[in-house]
Symmetry: C2
Subunit: 224 residues, 2 copies
Amino acid sequence: MVSAETEPARRATSVQRAVEEIRRMLRSRELVPGQQVRQETLAARLGVSRIPVREALKTLEAEGVLRHEPHVGYAVARLNADELAQVYLMRRALETEVLRALPRLTADQLRELTTLNEAITEQVDRVDVAGIVAANQAFHFAMFRLSGLDLVVDEIGRLWRRSEPYRTVHLYDSGGRARVVREHRKMITALRRGDTGAVVALMDAHRDHTVADLSAALGLPPRA
Amino acid sequence: MVSAETEPARRATSVQRAVEEIRRMLRSRELVPGQQVRQETLAARLGVSRIPVREALKTLEAEGVLRHEPHVGYAVARLNADELAQVYLMRRALETEVLRALPRLTADQLRELTTLNEAITEQVDRVDVAGIVAANQAFHFAMFRLSGLDLVVDEIGRLWRRSEPYRTVHLYDSGGRARVVREHRKMITALRRGDTGAVVALMDAHRDHTVADLSAALGLPPRA
DNA sequence: GAACATCATTTCGTATCCAATGGTCGGCGA
DNA sequence: TCGCCGACCATTGGATACGAAATGATGTTC
């Protein structure tokens, strides 16, 4: 889970459920960049009226994953190569701060990270791409959370969600997945040494691989 | 203006007007951290129904300036010293990226920045604190925008707004204001030399002064 | 004093209605 | 054929009225 929701999820309101459902639709590519999001359709799908849907859409607009034009409606945000690069620039800047703030980890914490990372490998056998993406996020954010910089981690979460419609194509081939797990292991090793500088460097390289894949996937459509 | 709204502001929707009005109330300390925001009250004040108000509140919640608890309502976010430090940590990280991306400025651009900075001085004579704050923001964001990293600058804008309820007490005494203008001049000089490293260092020091003032003003209420 | 029932307030959500906007489509004239 | 124009229509923006559910406070009982 990317968000900071630690509460026992009492009973979610319609707005919260709508937000989660739209996020899920984005992850599953049921909604793709540029696509218009009609309020009535969503409301019918969720079995609620338009009011909670509109609030959910406003939340996602503020997060940057949707764009809104008055009297026209909401659409999934399209990011060109330059804008996507800016999102990754922000990720690098904030993730670096978080990693630098990491304390010396306990054996338990290191074990926990290892477990989460190996869980990614287990997901490789299944065809479930969503599971891999989720496991990957779980690993990264478990690490980030150990910094104690909750507000910064929340912000990083927003940035991850923002690039999610573009990122989901990335972990498809098994070669890429194997590399991801390998790079995570190196980070854990560096963390065991308490070498945060190395962790930052590894994470930068790790992230650059994603960006490289993405740029390749995007080709070079300048605006469109 | 902090936001990226360059369009001729055709005719704003009720939601947009509500967002702006609430922001204004925060700047003017008509709403203070911890204070509850009642939907009906706001709706009456703005002369609209609760629907657009609720969407506006959702926007501001996503921005981090309001907190929402289901069935209880919205309240102005209270940041303790640690959380405020995190906001400034993010500001430093992102503003550094933006400043490093600044190109060599043209004479026109330098002149524009000087004009904006001197405008702060002019505001000193008036008692209008809101005017000073606005002029200060205008200077900073004019500089940021020259980087061309619009998404990053938008994000920095959100961070500024997030600390706004705490920042407004800062520029009250004329001594502080004189120092601000002086420090801005140094930045312009460094920009004229194209010395972005110096600009970053100056901005860090500049920001640290604010943080120091804020910490002093906050005392040390750990949680409240 | 602690556990429990009651109640007013506020929020959450629905249903229904109307206004305003933007796009579509067909006709019309140059 | 091209471009303009106006009618039509789908969608969004917003209001109003109403009901349901949750919360916090109050009062009651043991």
